[in-house]
Symmetry: C2
Subunit: 188 residues, 2 copies
Amino acid sequence: MSGLLFVLSGPSGVGKSTLRKEVMKRCPTLKYSVSCTTRPPRRDEEEGVDYYFIDMKTFEQMKERGEFIEWAKVHGNYYGTPRRPVEEWLKEGFDVILEIDVQGAKQVKENYPEGIFIFIAPPSLGVLEERIRRRSSDPENEILLRMTNAHLEMQSIRDYNYLVINDVLEEAVDKLRSIIVAEKCRIR
Amino acid sequence: MSGLLFVLSGPSGVGKSTLRKEVMKRCPTLKYSVSCTTRPPRRDEEEGVDYYFIDMKTFEQMKERGEFIEWAKVHGNYYGTPRRPVEEWLKEGFDVILEIDVQGAKQVKENYPEGIFIFIAPPSLGVLEERIRRRSSDPENEILLRMTNAHLEMQSIRDYNYLVINDVLEEAVDKLRSIIVAEKCRIR
């Protein structure tokens, strides 16, 4: 029996990381596939835990060799999910969670249509903007770019199986965990 | 926006009632549609809470008038779900849970294919038999009939959306609640 692939996506700044970490505490058998990125680590990020921080050249070589399930260039940086661990875990029957941007989720859906796609949305675009401004010291034009992207990304909600609004963290975590538990009871 | 219809079904003796009551404590907005039956109340059952206990003639009149979403004769007794409260709640946007036998669930599926059908199964038929013998003082031939029916009913699992095995009560309740929470996040 093959494992289930859960794909967590949504606009930048919506809180995917926090949600994913909290849900993993509650579903300890869930495997998380650490992504590669060319962007520099944030203060609280750890190599091999949050991301594999690699340089542009290494990323491009891996990309050429088809070693990513999905990759995307987001706000000038590359992000990609290595293929091998995901495929091995699924084959061994483990459930896997990916935490990726909306472009990346689209690519995963082409290759894994049986995946379970969960869109994380902010309560409103206004709230998202506040969160982004609070978290980052990005210049104004970057923030505007993120907001434009978020607006566009919200239109792809209908391609997803589930929508979780990240308003009260504890409630959003409970919804995510419920989706995972329910999907494991689903008759396919 | 219309509410969701959750249909809890499975063999007699599997613990549908207990599960349904426990899940309702955790989902207080869920509406339960009390069924009608012609069988006499068990010691712990309350009129209008567990069932409406009605006589054969009243049942047959209601049946003729199409006042049941589903009805079934199970082990010599009639059971039926009154149509009106269910349809009104759904229209008002409330989620509704039904707790019915496998024959009844089949009828509901014909009329409400968009319902969410959850099969409650025992860990094994042997465990089910033990539970039935512990609970009832039915004669041997009744118990054998129930077991034959249970065996047949288990074959219809593939017509359901979810399977919950009622082994450890607390875990089964958590799965049921998760299915309800997840379905409310599902994009339709």
